[in-house]
Structure formats: structure tokens, C-alpha cells
């Protein structure tokens, strides 16, 4: 056992956990004040639900046979390690870096949490909380857990058989979530008064806070994926930083040219786009390659977010434009920028260098195949699942409730009460109804906004 590597993986796990609250604020700042709590909750509930499933069977399905090392045709991990059965804390290490398996359980759990959380941005302002929770549980079970096996497990078929390089989840996390986001945006449909009413971010500093926490946590996500605090982990770290910085610049430049301004929301979005794109690539490319990937991803995603207006789907917070597109960009660019040295040192799954580094187009084809498989699988299942949930219990709140605000309707809360110091307007009109019988009034409530 290596305490240094274990410390690194455990701290990285904590960092990745923090990404979900970070994402919640990134998204939460972007919605209107009347649905920020719902947005926070859609993310927070992923932490709760996925953790429970992961402990019960998720780990087992995704990684339960990872140490068995078959020849790469494995499509799921089985139920052998249900409830983390048999993984005692004394247990042997996971793979070769001297990290106990139970630490990797924690680390990989955080990936399983944030992936469905990413989807939530597409259906901001209008989803039923119980429907969403159900979706998260089922989608995680039949999409994320197996896909994580395919991509991350040493014997997963996308990894071992297709020789795809996806270091920290360009396909398993971002394309996966982005495709599901597109599906749900289609299933739920457009928000009331979309493109008519302005739906501007209610708290841009929160978006920035979220971006900051995401950036911070993402070092755990990418560098932690090395499962080792060594040269490779360090190189992944600097690549992550380089690409993200370049993506901020890429996005801002596109914005300046197109809209005339460098915006705060653009900087935050560019950072996330860069983080997404470098996620699969961070252990295959050089720092210079990372700068290039970041710059391209920032620019492409800045352009991609306008697609929804052209194609007419209401992906509210641009999960498709940032995560699906950014994930594809990063996954494919590996096929161009992967260097011999990096691939040779980090990968043992038969992957090859990219086109620009003497590797031909083989790897590019593999990358495209990996991306395509995950994209299609996730989209189809998410669409079907969303459709069924919608038919059975309704996935969307009523129009009146949406206008009133999901926070009030779904959670019986409102986010802020800044009413003047020394006396408050709104709550002054309220009274603690533990005394008074508030229920009748509550039922009469839903008239209109």
C-alpha cells in the first residue's frame, strides 16, 4: 500500500464530491430566482440517491470484476460485490498504484454522482422533483453503471477492446450526460414563454462561484484518475489547468467577436467547456496540446450553444452545447493530439498516438466509435425512460406552477428574503401557522401567479 497515492485518491474523492455542489451553484445562478432551490435540489438529490445505489450495487455493476482482468469483452461487473461485500478495508489494492480498493470505491462514486447531476441543467425550471429522482435512480442503474464499466474498468470493452482513451470521462461522463440531457429536453419540451420572456441568470456571482468550485474539484477528477501522485498525475494536473485557461480565452474571443463583449457568464462557461474537453485527453497530450484543445473547445462550445435556438429545443442551461459538444471535441481531438510519450507511459490498453504525432487516423476512428456508442446508448435509453416516466407520473409541473415557480410549488420554499433590515415586508404578511390552520389556505393557493 502507498499512503501517498491513497492520500491523493481520498482527497481527490473529496474534491470531486465538492464538484456537485459547485455544479449546483453554477446551474443555480443561471436560473431565475424562482427556481434556484429546485436546481440545487436536483443536484443534491443525486448525491443522496446515487451514493445509496452505489454502495448497494453500483460499484459492483461497474467495477465488481475489475481485478479479474479478462480479455476485454466484459460488459458489466456483476453483483458479486453488492453492498461492498468482501471489500474489507484491509483488502488488497485496486490495480497497481497501492491504493486500497475501498478508496477507489469512494473515488468512482463521486463520478457516478456528478454525471446525472450534469443532466439537470437541461430541464431547469420545470421538472417534477419526484420524477427527476426516479429518473436519476434508473438512469444511473441502466446507463451510468454499465457505461462506467465499459470505459473505466480495465476489462471494459470500450477501454480494453476498442482501445479508446478516455482518461477521466469524456465519454462516460460528459457525452453520456450530454446525450441524456438532450433526450430529456426533448421529452419535457420548452419552458412556458421560452424565447419570449427573458430568462436571464438571477445570480451571476453564484455562477462564478460554481465555476470556481468546479475548477478546483476538477483537479481531483482528472489528476485523481491517475490513482497516483506521480509524474503522470502531475502532468494531468498541468494539462487540466492549461486547457481550461485556454478555453476561457477561446470562448471570450468568440463572444467578443459575435456579441461585442467579454462576459462573466462566458468566462465561466468557457472554463467548464475546457474542463470537459480536457477530461478524456489530459493523460494523452502535452501541455501545448492541452492549450490547443482548450482553445478549440472554448470556441466551439461558444458557437454550439446557439444551436438550440436554431434547432428549437430548450436545453435550458446548455448541457448539450457544453458537455455533449465539449465531450465530443475532447474525445476526438485525442485522435489528433495524443503524443507517443504520454500514450506509451500511461496507457496499457493498446491505444496509439494521434494523427499529429505520427499515429495515423486509427486512434481517431476508435475515439469516434467510443463516443458514438455512448452517445447513442445514453440518448436512446434516456429518451425512452423519460418518456415512460412522463406518461406514468408526469415529468413536468403544470404550466401555472411553472409560472409561479418550482421552488414554491415543489419544495414549499422561496430562496431569498432580503426584506428590509429591521422589519420585513414579505414575511410580515406571513405568520407561523403552527398556531393558525394554514392548510385550507394552502390548498386554495394554486390560482395563478
Amino acid at each position: 500500500m502507498d499512503t501517498g497515492n491513497t492520500a491523493f485518491v481520498l482527497v481527490s474523492s473529496a474534491l470531486v464530491l465538492l464538484m456537485t455542489p459547485g455544479l449546483a451553484f453554477f446551474y443555480g445562478g443561471m436560473v431565475r430566482a424562482k427556481s434556484v432551490l429546485n436546481m440545487l435540489m436536483m443536484n443534491f438529490i443525486c448525491i443522496a440517491v446515487v451514493t445509496v445505489l452505489w454502495v448497494l450495487y453500483g460499484w459492483s455493476v461497474a467495477f465488481g470484476n475489475a481485478n479479474d482482468a479478462p480479455d476485454g469483452s466484459s460488459v458489466w461487473g456483476g453483483f458479486k460485490q453488492w453492498a461492498l461485500h468482501d471489500i474489507s478495508m484491509m483488502d488488497g489494492q485496486y490495480l497497481t498504484t497501492g491504493v486500497p480498493t475501498i478508496a477507489v470505491v469512494a473515488f468512482q462514486l463521486m463520478f457516478a454522482i456528478i454525471t446525472p447531476a450534469l443532466i439537470s441543467g437541461a430541464i431547469a425550471d420545470r421538472a417534477k422533483f419526484t420524477a427527476w429522482t426516479l429518473f436519476v435512480a434508473v438512469w444511473s442503474t441502466i446507463v451510468y453503471f454499465p457505461v462506467a464499466h465499459w470505459v473505466f474498468s480495465p476489462n471494459g470493452y470500450i477501454n480494453a477492446k476498442l482501445h479508446v482513451m478516455d482518461f477521466a470521462g469524456g465519454t462516460a461522463v460528459h457525452i453520456n450526460a450530454g446525450a441524456a440531457a438532450l433526450a430529456l429536453a426533448l421529452v419535457l419540451g420548452k419552458r412556458v414563454a421560452w424565447r419570449k420572456d427573458p430568462m436571464r441568470p438571477h445570480n451571476v456571482p453564484f455562477v462564478m462561484l460554481g465555476a470556481g468550485l468546479l475548477w478546483f474539484g476538477w483537479f481531483g477528477f482528472n489528476a485523481g484518475s491517475a490513482l497516483a501522485a506521480n509524474g503522470a498525475g502531475s502532468m494531468v494536473f498541468i494539462n487540466t489547468q492549461a486547457a481550461t485557461a485556454a478555453a476561457v480565452i477561446g470562448w471570450l474571443v468568440v463572444e467578443k467577436i459575435r456579441d461585442g463583449h467579454f462576459t462573466t457568464l462566458g468566462a465561466a462557461s468557457g472554463a467548464v467547456a475546457g474542463l470537459v474537453a480536457i477530461t478524456p485527453a489530459c493523460a494523452s497530450v502535452s501541455p501545448l496540446g492541452s492549450l490547443a484543445i482548450g482553445l478549440i473547445a472554448g470556441a466551439v462550445c461558444a458557437l454550439a450553444i446557439s444551436l438550440k435556438y436554431k434547432l428549437g429545443f430548450d436545453d435550458s442551461l446548455d448541457v448539450v452545447g457544453v458537455h455533449l459538444v465539449g465531450g465530443i471535441v475532447g474525445t476526438l481531438l485525442i485522435g489528433l493530439f495524443a503524443t507517443k510519450e504520454m500514450v506509451g507511459t500511461v496507457y496499457t490498453n493498446g491505444a496509439e498516438a494521434g494523427l499529429f504525432y505520427g499515429g495515423g487516423v486509427t486512434q481517431l476512428g476508435r475515439q469516434a466509435a467510443g463516443a458514438g456508442i455512448v452517445l447513442v446508448y445514453s440518448f436512446v435509453v434516456a429518451f425512452a425512460l423519460g418518456f415512460v416516466i412522463d406518461k406514468v407520473m408526469g415529468f413536468r409541473v403544470s404550466e401555472d406552477d411553472e409560472v409561479t415557480g418550482v421552488d414554491q410549488v415543489e419544495h414549499a420554499e422561496t430562496a431569498y428574503d432580503f426584506a428590509t433590515m429591521g422589519g420585513s415586508l414579505r414575511p410580515a404578511g406571513a405568520g407561523v401557522a403552527t398556531a393558525a390552520p394554514a392548510s385550507p389556505a394552502a390548498t386554495e393557493t394554486k390560482v395563478d401567479a
Binding site: 420572456d197 409560472v403 409561479t404 414554491q408 414549499a412 420554499e413 422561496t414 415586508l425 414579505r426 414575511p427 404578511g429 406571513a430 405568520g431 407561523v432 401557522a433 403552527t434 393558525a436 394554514a438 392548510s439 389556505a441 394552502a442 386554495e444 393557493t445 390560482v447 395563478d448 401567479a449
Partner: protein, 112 residues
């Protein structure tokens, strides 16, 4: 001169503004307000304690208008603000003795 004050639902403001503009009125002043009336508020729950919020968000629009236009304008506003559901609000007219445009000091109809 008259002052028309209308307390309306917030999401009708845009339509009221457009209707007024179509009518030829190019100025108005808006304030955020809260209304209490037939339309009920809602209940919030924080750690099991229920809060009855019985003030409903409204928007208060003020338009100063010529005596002759006032009645018609009132109709324009009322029509644009109407949803037909409870809580659509009220509008009222008050006599105004003088109006000034701050920038120029102009008085009366020219001030608008």
C-alpha cells in the same frame, strides 16, 4: 391632467407597456408591490414550521395623462392586464393639478 395607477400581475407588465405604446403613451413609472386580496398567497415550510405568505407579488404602474385620454387609457391598461383570473388587480384615476418635466421645467401636457 390625471394620474392612472394600476396594480397588476407582474407578468402582464410587458403587455400593458406595449398596449400603452401602441396607444401613443411613451412614458410610465413602475414600482414593485405586493397585494393582498381575494387571491390567496401560499404556504412555505421550513423545518416543519409553516409560513403563510399572504401577500402576492404585483406591479404598480403609474401613468400621468391628459384629461381627455385618461378614460380611454384606463381601458387600454385594464384590457392589456386582464387574464380573467382572480388577482388581476385594480386600476384607479386621481386628479392631477400640475405636472412638470424635470429636465426642462415644461408644464402640463407638454411635460409628458
Amino acid at each position: 391632467m390625471k394620474l392612472i395607477t394600476a396594480v397588476i400581475k407582474p407578468h402582464r407588465l410587458d403587455d400593458v407597456k406595449n398596449a400603452l405604446q401602441a396607444y401613443g403613451v411613451h412614458g410610465l413609472t413602475v414600482t414593485e408591490a405586493s397585494g393582498y386580496g381575494r387571491q390567496r398567497g401560499h404556504t412555505e415550510v421550513y423545518r416543519g414550521a409553516e409560513y403563510q405568505v399572504d401577500l402576492v407579488p404585483k406591479v404598480r404602474v403609474e401613468v400621468v395623462a391628459d384629461d381627455d385620454d385618461a378614460e380611454e387609457l384606463l381601458e387600454v391598461i385594464v384590457k392589456a392586464a386582464r387574464t380573467g383570473k382572480i388577482g388581476d388587480g385594480k386600476a384607479w384615476v386621481v386628479p392631477v393639478e400640475s405636472v412638470v418635466r424635470v429636465r426642462t421645467g415644461e408644464r402640463g401636457p407638454e411635460a409628458l
